[in-house]
């Protein structure tokens, strides 16, 4: 009886899972494996091989790699500095870093479009200082720049969390046993934060790989990512079959990258949520 009640409580979640997760995936699979007349075909998936699609996928991977690498290089030293200052100040600085996340994603992108435009704030300031203007709007540089801006907190937080978990006495114990700062970094700090790094990489790389809004707004139609190709297939060409096929290919890349990273994270700390 009790067991039945408890299962009943899980009902709403079951409806959610089936209705909003399983059904859509089945539908995407169905569309991906059929053509517009409903016959089974692999052509939608093999369409990734056409130059325009493979070029978009390659560019997506390249920009996502770049974005992840820049986020990692920025976040790791920051997390180290953060974990060494007073606790009260730590919370404030972490708060400042995640503050932009409280603003709408689209608004943030639009704001950067305004800031980076030819007669935007940044170029006006540069002009008055006599520095040549920054002409990066509508280029991959602007897209990567905005990706880093948007996804940086997702890299900082897991690394900072894993760093903050290392007790001060662990570091002191290492010093006590004769370790200098280089040894402490490579033998203690780095191994103990690797799970945070893995989580951060996944949480930045996956959204960067699949994003289309940033390239849409800051790329000016010149930066075509795989996300934009899929969006166009659905929204402009009304070719749900092609869109689904390319989505499946992208999904494979996402899952593969997650599996690759998780394999390096033996403790499974944090990365498990993905």
């Amino acid at each position: 009886m009790n067991k039945l009640k408890r299962q009943f409580l899980a009902g709403p979640y079951l409806v959610w899972i089936i209705g909003f997760i399983l059904l859509p995936i089945i539908m995407i699979l169905y569309y991906a494996l059929t053509n517009q007349t409903g016959e089974a075909t692999l052509s939608n998936i093999l369409a990734i091989g056409t130059p325009i699609h493979s070029k978009a996928l390659f560019l997506s991977l390249k920009l996502a790699f770049l974005c992840t690498a820049i986020c990692l290089v920025l976040s790791y030293p920051l997390a180290m500095i953060l974990s060494n200052i007073r606790k009260k100040h730590q919370n404030l600085i972490v708060f400042i870093f995640i503050l932009p996340m409280w603003m709408n994603f689209m608004l943030r992108i639009l704001a950067w479009k305004m800031l980076l435009s030819n007669n935007g704030v940044i170029n006006s300031v540069l002009e008055t200082l006599g520095i040549p203007p920054l002409d990066i709007l509508n280029t991959p540089t602007a897209v990567v720049f905005c990706m880093v801006y948007d996804f940086l907190p997702f890299m900082i937080l897991p690394i900072y969390n894993s760093m903050a978990r290392i007790g001060k006495d662990i570091i002191e114990a290492a010093k006590d046993l004769g370790a200098g700062s280089v040894t402490i970094f490579f033998k203690i700090i780095l191994p103990l934060t690797i799970s945070g790094v893995v989580s951060g990489i996944i949480m930045v790389f996956v959204p960067a790989l699949t994003s289309f809004a940033i390239s849409d707004l800051l790329g000016g139609g010149k930066v075509l990512l795989i996300g934009n190709v899929i969006e166009q297939a659905f929204m402009q060409e009304y070719n749900w079959n092609l869109g689904s096929g390319l989505s499946i290919v992208l999904m494979v890349f996402v899952i593969a990258s997650m599996a690759l990273m998780s394999a390096h994270d033996k403790e499974g700390g944090g990365a498990g949520v993905w």
Partner: protein
């Protein structure tokens, strides 16, 4: 006596403007088991951290084996520490934990293997090489922490309340283990604790500290039997501490009666603290006692009864093997040599002597 190994000279240290240690002078002999004992905030852990190199004094010097090591960092000192919370490296196996210090000093593989085996045997954890830190109990982790420290053959082992997190039985076992280790290794132990029993059991020398000042240095017997002031008497074991007046040599007045004692040299008609241990208070027939009173509380403690006796306006704490029911009238007798006379704290410097209660 063996030679001085560590000498702390005129050490002062404050954190955020609050003085923790003030002009502390202390030396530690080679091969000694020295315990820094005191309530939390008395400066005992700070003293240990100064020797370990985790903090540097604002003033004064740390001398080690004749050399000034005040400004040396922890990794350049010939001491190793066993931390309160073990501080084992969670991402390493037990063997890797123990080998950590040896690998840094580039010892040969064979040497490291032998040392790991030897150290694990010493702490009674043979065969634990491949285990993970998580799979060990608190007591086992603490023993690994000790093993990790001693494989480096330090001249001094610093122990910062290492048994604080263990349960009573385990704590007692570990106390004997530490005494055995100290004897087998023949190195100096500096031990920090707030547990007076632990200090009495293990130490060669006890340093009682309060509010950044050393209150008394001595053997466990000295500290217990001849506490130098009321704070030490109160902190080490239980005590009846009574205001008294030293009438003249060998005669003290307290609670309206005059009792013979064995102390001399306090002057005449001088206010003093009188300390009497609860096991030194004899309960006798009311007519035979120096004082007469009434039992107000009775608690069975296993080895003895703990009895409160109200006599002459003071509640006496008494430990005795004889039962006296609540409400019964008893006499109190104290032998002269069981009365300890202590100076009252006079100047503000001695304020640290006052107990917090």
């Amino acid at each position: 006596m063996s030679k001085k190994l560590i000498d702390l000279v005129h050490i002062s240290k404050s954190f955020d403007g609050a003085a923790v240690l003030d002009d502390l002078n202390l030396y530690i002999r080679e091969n000694e088991f020295l315990t820094l004992l005191g309530p939390s905030g008395c400066g005992k852990t700070t003293t240990l951290r100064l020797i370990g190199g985790f903090d540097t004094p604002d003033q004064g010097q740390v001398i080690f084996d004749g050399k000034d090591i005040t400004s040396l960092s922890p990794n350049q000192r010939q001491v190793n520490t066993v931390f309160q919370k073990y501080a084992l490296f969670p991402h390493m196996t037990i063997a890797e934990n123990i080998a950590f210090g040896l690998k840094i000093r580039k010892k040969s593989k064979q040497y490291i293997q032998d040392k790991i085996k030897y150290a694990l045997k010493l702490v009674n954890l043979d065969g634990f090489e491949g285990r993970s830190v998580d799979s060990l109990s608190g007591g086992q982790q603490q023993r690994i922490a000790i093993a990790r420290a001693i494989v480096n053959e330090p001249k001094v082992l610093l122990l910062d309340e290492p048994l604080g997190a263990l349960d009573l039985k385990l704590r007692q076992d570990m106390q004997y283990e530490l005494i055995r280790l100290k004897n087998e290794l023949g190195i100096t132990f500096i031990y920090v604790t707030h547990d007076q029993e632990e200090a009495l059991t293990m130490s060669d020398t006890i340093v009682v500290m309060n509010q950044g000042y050393i209150q008394q240095i001595g053997t466990p017997e000295d500290i217990y039997n001849e506490p130098s002031n009321a704070f030490v008497a109160d902190f080490i074991g239980e005590s009846n501490i009574i205001d008294g007046i030293m009438v003249k040599d060998r005669l003290v007045e307290l609670l309206g009666v005059t009792l013979p004692c064995v102390d001399e040299g306090f002057g005449q008609q001088k206010p003093v603290d009188v300390v009497i241990r609860p096991e030194d208070v004899e309960l006798v027939d009311p007519s035979n006692g120096q004082l007469a009173g009434e039992v107000t509380s009775l608690i069975f403690k296993g080895v003895h009864w703990e009895i409160d006796v109200m006599a002459n306006g003071f509640e006496w704490l008494v430990h005795t093997t004889q039962m006296h029911p609540v409400g019964s009238h008893v006499g109190i007798h104290i032998d002269p040599f069981n009365i300890q006379i202590m100076h009252k704290p006079e100047s503000s410097d001695e304020r640290a002597v006052e107990t917090d209660e």
